[in-house]
């Protein structure tokens, strides 16, 4: 059985969808673009693809090598593909949560949040340094459990493709109770918000049930302010890619003791200057944000 790369198939759809979203916004739909911001997002996506070319073979080989030590021989059937998809989404939840709560992983993931816009091009604003931060480690247990590596990479691709479509302001809410089960545009807008109540919330990839289960869910009750706590003042893709790594290096050098060095690397983002998500939330007055519609 062969498994296609879902992302490769989806790229033309991504392009058409971005153009359609721009047109919809021009004709009055909710949302916004900025041409240089879009350029940066798309160049980050291009660089991410190049990084995958460079490091992908090694990660594939690692997955295949771990699979040799698998606990179970799991056959490739529709049911096991679905099971793998669900477990991969659970692994994604914990990867994503770590990517926000541990600075080493945040240094890579911050790229995706560095736009003050929230549109389909933001979905493609991806890190160039993911392999360096070992973010792929969260998926490795799937190989050890015994899922076929082709299936693991296939469901991972499906997850990415799904997530592209939640990066929009055009869609307000999904019908039929889907908001309860799925990560939707509304839930993911919250995730990209810097409003104190929205910081470090809604980590789910496809399913939002993980957030409901693990206590990180927040509904969209006020208009999100997109970006990061200290928004960047440049569209330069190279700086977007490395700025948090540079900040980590500076903080490690400036730290007075080993605890400071450790926390600069493995503590929560903002630990050094007291601007962690928890601290900001604690300082914030009761929200007077603009109500979400």
């Amino acid at each position: 059985m062969t498994f296609p790369d879902p992302v490769q198939f989806a790229v033309p759809i991504f392009i058409v969808a971005i153009l359609a979203e721009m047109l919809a916004i021009r004709f009055g739909a909710r949302g916004d673009y900025e041409w240089r911001d879009t350029a940066t997002s798309l160049l980050m996506g291009f660089g991410n693809t190049m990084a995958a070319v460079v490091f992908g073979a090694g990660i594939l080989a690692l997955g295949a090598a771990l699979w040799e030590y698998r606990l179970f021989d799991i056959p490739v059937t529709a049911a096991t593909v679905v099971l793998c998809f669900l477990l991969d989404d659970l692994a994604y939840y914990w990867f994503h949560r770590s990517a926000h709560e541990v600075r080493w992983f945040w240094a890579s993931h911050v790229v995706h949040h560095s736009s003050q816009h929230y549109n389909l091009s933001t979905a493609l604003r991806q890190t160039w340094t993911g392999p360096i931060s070992f973010s792929f480690a969260f998926r490795l247990p799937l190989f050890l459990i015994g899922f076929d590596p082709r299936v693991v990479f296939f469901v991972g691709g499906l997850n990415l493709v799904y997530q592209f479509f939640v990066h929009t302001e055009v869609v307000r809410r999904l019908p039929f109770g889907l908001e309860y089960i799925l990560n939707t545009p509304s839930h993911h807008r919250v995730h990209h918000g810097t409003n104190p109540r929205y910081l470090d919330r809604n980590y789910g990839g496809v399913l939002i049930v993980w957030d409901r289960l693990f206590g990180s869910f927040e509904p969209e009750v006020e208009a999100p302010r997109y970006g990061i706590v200290r928004n960047l003042a440049t569209f330069n893709p190279l700086w977007v890619a490395v700025h948090e790594w540079v900040a980590i290096a500076r903080d490690v050098i400036a730290a007075r003791d080993w605890r400071g060095r450790w926390m600069a690397v493995a503590g929560p983002p903002g630990w050094r200057d007291g601007s962690t998500a928890a601290a900001i939330r604690a300082q914030a007055a009761p929200s007077a944000g603009v109500p979400a519609e």
Partner: protein, 116 residues
């Protein structure tokens, strides 16, 4: 082969430009106060110095802190300004945060001063 996606990127960026997503909005005092208050926890601005082109503002707080609001595309970037980052040069106020790729911001002499 490597240039194919770059052509696609160029087309999408050109489309964004052609559709008019290239505005550079101007600040007013109320907007500057709101942005500073949202971005800096516990900050309440009382006075605003607007740049002549409306693309930046210095917001002064009741607690003595100063916050810079600076245009970035059609959005704004906000930073607390330490006293050492502020200097006066030939009547102009110069804000140099020393942050990589954060441009120096110059407030020309006699910028309008607006009380909140």
């Amino acid at each position: 082969m490597i240039f194919t996606p770059l052509i696609g990127i160029a087309l999408l960026v050109a489309a964004a430009w052609a559709f008019g997503f290239r505005a550079a909005p101007r600040l007013d005092a109320g907007e500057a106060l709101r942005l500073a208050g949202e971005a800096v926890a516990g900050f309440a601005g009382t006075r605003v110095d607007l740049a002549a082109d409306g693309r930046a503002a210095l917001v002064h707080g009741a607690d003595g802190r100063t916050v810079l609001v600076r245009g970035h595309g059609n959005r704004w970037v906000v930073r607390p300004v330490p006293p050492a980052a502020l200097r006066h040069d030939a009547g102009a106020v110069v804000v140099d945060l020393g942050e990589p790729l954060f441009p120096t911001t110059i407030f020309a002499p006699a910028a309008p001063r607006i009380a909140a």
